[in-house]
């Protein structure tokens, strides 16, 4: 089995439109949740979200490209461009033939679908834009990245709701580790902040009207975000041979299902997958210094996740640092684990991003949740949790290079 390292990272998210800016925002505990600015917002019950502010597609793409790219694809392409640039890789010859891309997304081109349905149903038109299908496909972001970087190897998209990114990155890790591909671009992208997307979430009654407060006793739901993060996962020997910068080593992954309920999480299901990820990495629980929690800020998730962490880590749970950066960038759904891996990389550099908006301690969430202010700490190994609706869970482990 080969070792797998991360040699590039890129992102567009509500905190910043690059990695450096995101690290700064995560370190400062900045909040990107704000009143939503989108058509028909007055008809929404939930009027807040974490939007990518000031997005200018024209600054990144030509007019004909924009015609083919949904917002989630635009975010993914810009993130991928940054990641590849940082890695220093140029895909050609055998490397291009064997390298690939696997991306997570839950909604795919949801904004494109929403616009298209508005055209035919609300506006009564009988004709939609000719590129609706290539824009809305769940695999369009992955496909456009393969086209942009000549990645001729494995290419596909993964849709496991809020765990999509972690599943995608876990599969990319396994493909590089097994020798199937020398390099995989991976991560996730999401752009669900449109009227129809938000209406659907509103219906479930799990959204907060006033903020995302993970692990706080007065938490009252999740807040939606949007964006993308893409990483270069590379065979360790390949990276070393070319003297590439290494941001982290990917050392473990596991996935599993609660097989219980379509929306209510099961602590035992989450615990089983965290244990399996540790076993995959060959590490004892006390090797982990930081957990980037799923931490949605719903009553059910946070209580269940803390119980699962206690089950897995025992007394070590009291020495761990645990934070939910969704308090800052919102819940990016299919891109959540991707953007949250930035906080994992930052932790490996010695800065643990906080759980902001933490106001009242909750006895059911009695862990060190790095409340409100970032913490300096020597962190050797980090865990990233993602627990999706459907009870589908995916957990990654990274180590400092």
């Amino acid at each position: 089995m080969r070792r797998v390292v991360i040699t590039g990272a890129g992102t567009v998210n509500p905190l910043a439109q690059d990695v450096e800016g995101s690290f700064a925002a995560l370190s400062e505990g900045r909040c990107a949740i704000a009143p939503l600015d989108l058509p028909d917002v007055e008809r929404l019950a939930i009027k807040i979200g974490a939007q990518v502010q000031g997005w200018q597609a024209e600054a990144h793409f030509t007019r004909s490209e924009i015609a083919l790219y949904d917002r989630f694809t635009q975010f993914a392409l810009v993130a991928a461009r940054q990641a590849v640039a940082q890695s220093g890789l140029v895909f050609a010859g055998d490397l291009a033939a064997r390298s690939g891309v696997v991306l997570g997304t839950a909604g795919g081109g949801l904004t494109t679908q929403d616009d298209s349905y508005r055209t035919v149903y609300a506006e009564g038109k009988n004709r939609v834009h000719p590129f609706v299908v290539p824009r809305l496909m769940h695999n369009s972001a992955a496909a456009q990245i393969s086209i942009a970087h000549d990645l001729q190897g494995p290419g596909f998209s993964v849709a496991t709701a809020c765990a999509s990114s972690n599943h995608a990155m876990g599969l990319a890790f396994q493909m590089v580790r097994s020798g199937m591909a020398p390099v995989m671009l991976t991560g996730g992208a999401e752009a669900m902040l449109c009227f129809g997307g938000l209406k659907a979430w509103e219906g479930l009654r799990v959204m907060s009207p006033d903020g995302c407060r993970p692990f706080s006793a007065n938490r009252n739901g999740m807040v939606m975000g949007e964006g993308a993060a893409v990483y270069v996962f590379e065979d360790h020997d390949h990276a070393r041979a070319r003297g590439a910068p290494v941001l982290a080593e990917v050392i473990g992954f596991a996935m599993g299902s609660d097989a219980s309920d379509i929306v209510m999480p099961l602590p035992e299901g989450a615990a089983r997958v965290m244990r399996a990820a540790l076993a995959d990495a060959g590490l004892p629980p006390d090797a982990v210094g930081y957990i980037n929690a799923h931490g949605t800020g719903t009553a059910a998730n946070d209580r269940s996740e803390v119980a699962a962490i206690r089950q897995v880590f025992g007394d070590h749970a009291d020495r761990l640092l645990v934070s939910s950066t969704k308090s800052m960038h919102g819940h990016l759904i299919g891109a959540a684990g991707g953007v949250e891996l930035l906080a994992c990389l930052l932790a490996l550099q010695g800065t643990v991003a906080p759980t902001i908006s933490h106001q009242i301690a909750d006895p059911e969430c009695a862990l060190d949740v790095v409340a409100n202010v970032a913490r300096r700490a020597e962190i050797e190994v980090v865990m990233s949790n993602a627990f999706a609706f459907g009870g589908m869970n995916a957990v990654l482990l990274l180590r400092r290079p």
Binding site: V206, R219, V263, M264, A299
Partner: protein, 87 residues
């Protein structure tokens, strides 16, 4: 002859709980009717659609929603109040 608000709310609860309306007593709790969290969300949706009202309800904190869900009778009273407030 149109049904009273009480009869309509009971009919909605009975349908969601897959019970006969005669089995939905005024002092019953939702748990006693066998309604889980998703059944509750569907019930509130059905009430909103039937009476054209907005029910303040957040599944994260049902007790703080300002809509008393403690029994069938309390739900009927809360619906009556929302309809009165709309008029």
């Amino acid at each position: 002859m149109s049904q009273s608000i009480q009869e309509q709310v009971i009919a909605i609860l009975a349908e969601q709980a897959v019970l006969d309306v005669s089995d939905v007593s005024l002092d019953a709790t939702l748990a006693a009717l066998g309604l889980d969290s998703l059944g509750l969300v569907e019930t509130i949706f059905a009430i909103e659609e039937r009476f054209d009202i907005s029910v303040p309800f957040n599944a994260n904190d049902p007790a703080q929603s300002g809509f008393d869900l403690s029994s069938v009778a309390s739900i009927i009273a809360a619906v009556q109040a929302l309809i009165a407030a709309k008029a």
